[in-house]
Symmetry: C2
Subunit: 230 residues, 2 copies
DNA sequence: CCAAAAGTGTTAAGAGTACACCCATGA
DNA sequence: TCATGGGTGTACTCTTAACACTTTTGG
């Protein structure tokens, strides 16, 4: 514990932020690097931790300055510390996992980033550093989470048709789900409240009834844990 | 990502290693500190990361040198980075979660530690730094793991009566379990192989049949994940 | 023969799964 | 009126949960 070798190790944070739109799919926020190494390559938003700030503050700061994202949900994902993961030297990255609703704001690439954009998790470009491995880990976390926590509040619009939620599950689990069984299960959890309102301009078909989350119940179940095997 | 403020941050690893014996209970390995800060206080084994080594190498090294423990199972737990968590300055700790069978070796406190010992998770002393919070996090992880992974191989003797495994589950989940339903469930998973051998000197009662894990099946289910709601 | 722990099966309730037809809307 | 997606129920299977008496051993 107490030998104190001079360490030549630096610390950064990176964020895997997922967004979702029913038309498209689950996407990850990436920024395009303006400086070496990996200049002009896509990478996760992130950066060095400043001495006095907490890790969460570092992530939040980087997301705001690099992409204009005000994050909705954030949890620690994993710490990546392989000695060779960064060509600049020993740099440890504490990766975070975030969720936002991308329709709530406009992405804004800043000085730090040439560009910022959403990428479908099935069509990711080559990423800088070991960021592909980080994204992989985050996707696994997302798939695992959906089994024991309600999900959707942080990703969907305030009011949404049940089919949006169902598509979210289908996308994350990467397989089809029976509509009737899904609704039965969701109703049984009691996390949705219906409204006397319908979808405004469906691209086709009968307009769907809109729902929103019962936040109290949602966060209670998030704490207690559920078993959602579908 | 690329401003590089001079960081004055150091990096250490700490390990929450769980051991189990059916007579006693689930225990955590602690060492007694020989130097300030928190001199003579119990703390988690751990220490500073050396420049070229991976995080896992750092944990393994510290466990061997501080307590003579050759670890059996290790996974990353969480990274603790609050700026005030260590009075010596900004020190980030990457905490690991480990499992061993304590009957396999003798603890050996080394120069770095005044003493090394097992403590029942229900009777922990006051710990140095934020180590109580780290242990809390590890216990939560253990309770969560038992629900979606088989557990026991790393903790129990090679051959054991089913009641040992059942007590493990009861201890981790902290509630009684119905013996018949438990056995049905475990048999259904197919992770145990019976032997034509009985417990040698039970403290009382009928000697139990001994079992061991079917490792192939065990690790297969560990990978696939199970849903063990009992 | 007594105390202690092991071995063992049935039933009832709830959850999961598979499956198809009619309805409301816009073009 | 057609195409598109929304809304809805039933039957079967499987899993879970509750529950108690008999057997084997050592003292």
């Amino acid at each position: 514990m107490d030998l104190e070798p001079k360490q030549n190790i630096r610390l950064c944070v990176d964020a895997v932020v997922f967004g979702y739109t029913a038309k498209e799919s689950i996407s990850v926020l990436l920024i395009k690097r303006t400086i070496p190494p990996f200049m002009h390559r896509w990478a996760l938003p992130g950066g060095f931790v400043i001495d006095g700030e907490t890790l969460e503050e570092a992530v939040t700061r980087e997301l705001e300055t690099e992409a204009g994202v005000h994050i909705n949900y954030l949890e620690q994902l994993y710490t990546f510390g392989q000695p060779e993961r960064d060509p600049r030297g020993r740099i440890i990255s504490i990766a975070y996992f975030g969720l936002v609703n991308p329709t709530n704001f406009k992405l804004a690439a800043s000085s730090d980033a040439e560009d910022a954009n959403w990428f479908d998790i099935k069509k990711l470009p080559d990423l800088a550093f070991d960021h592909s491995a980080i994204v992989e880990t985050a996707i696994k976390r997302l798939r695992a989470k959906i089994r024991y926590e309600p999900i959707g509040f942080e990703l969907l619009d305030q009011k949404f048709p049940i089919s949006d939620l169902e598509k979210l599950y289908e996308t994350v689990l990467d397989r089809p789900i029976d509509r009737r069984n899904f609704q039965k299960k969701i109703n049984h959890l009691g996390i949705l409240a219906g409204h006397n309102e319908k979808q405004k301009h469906p691209s086709a078909g009968r307009p769907a009834k809109l729902y929103s989350f019962n936040e109290e119940r949602y966060f209670q179940l998030k704490k207690e844990g559920i078993s959602f095997e579908i």
